[in-house]
Symmetry: C2
Subunit: 206 residues, 2 copies
């Protein structure tokens, strides 16, 4: 039986199991022999590789329905890299997300990796731009780290578009734990030009 | 039988199977019913959760041996988030890594997510600092995106410490595909202070 392209639930359930395993491996210590469970994972990977569409077909799939969110490395329920974060759009146009990050996102002791903080900011600023009607490619992203961002504690991240001039967009973000400011970011974005339109056309055959 | 703390190979093999599955899910289309394979993954996750050490024990494990690299979200063979990248140290102190990123790292069509580019830079600058003898916490990270960074094509990323003044360190990086410059970065780092020393002491019981 083929998986239907609109069977999101099946894919999400599979990815959620990967996410559960992912959460255990950084600093992983298991009171069991990993051999048998690794063999079962190897057979699952063999089976999925044999049944998978080609990279080209999947690449087209990621853009055919402009279904960006589900594949995004930060927000995508279909992407095992993502925590995932779900964002809410506030009345003033601010995107606001809540997330608690596990050991796999650790950089310094008990802290979120600085690069992961930047990754989250690029995503939240991108989402804020999208909802403001002006999705853009990042031209620069400047992140200021003001205090350590903890793992295993609730974080709140916000992003907001602050200025637009034609194809140019400026956005700002902040990351908090409780009432402590952990980091801020400023991004400058330009609306997609010819290269991206060409990529999308090539990928979707449109 | 307990997994021995030094059985890295067992954990790496397990994580590699997760990575194979991870590589198929963004834009995932499978010519099979995902239900049975998802059930097998669910049982594997159940088993690993039941056998796992506590988060506190694992947190201590990530620092007990100062074994940062294997758990890092960018370089860690024991971390399913990482591609992973392996870096080489060049004679002039430059860290140089090569990597090809799959669909799960995609942002704009056919391009690496801008936040992932920032994540890679923070990691390579951190590694360059470590090898220069002055690991630091990121204070700021500024990334300039100069041309689209492609997925599914070989990338070269470099980082180098350019200046140090006491506990303060400045580093620079660049990301290329072939002879095209995709992005550059500048980072400012400060050597860990009391909070980090306290975190490490608490986590390792030292």
């Amino acid at each position: 039986m083929d998986r239907q392209p609109d069977d999101e639930a099946g894919l999400y359930d599979l990815v959620e199991q990967v996410r559960r395993i992912r959460a255990l491996t950084a600093g992983g210590v298991f009171h069991t022999d990993l051999g048998p469970v690794t063999e079962r994972l190897r057979r699952a990977a063999d089976e999925l590789e044999a049944a998978s569409a080609t990279p080209e077909e999947r690449q087209a799939e990621t853009w055919a329905n402009r279904d960006y969110i589900r594949n995004c490395p930060v927000t995508g329920r279909g992407n095992p890299l993502s925590p995932p974060i779900e964002f809410d759009l506030l009345a003033d146009g601010t995107m606001r997300g809540e997330v608690t990050l596990g050991l796999e996102y650790q950089g310094p002791p008990a802290c979120v990796h600085g690069g992961v903080v930047a990754l989250l900011f690029d995503a939240v600023l991108g989402r804020a731009n999208f909802h403001a009607g002006h999705t853009g490619m990042t031209v620069y992203l400047d992140v200021d780290y003001r205090s350590p961002t903890p793992i295993l504690e609730p974080l709140v991240i916000t992003g907001r578009q602050v200025h637009r001039d034609g194809r140019k967009v400026w956005s700002e973000g902040a990351l908090w734990t409780g009432d402590r400011l952990c980091a801020t970011a400023e991004g400058f974005f330009v609306l997609p030009g010819d290269l991206l339109r060409e990529n999308r056309r090539r990928l979707t055959g449109g």
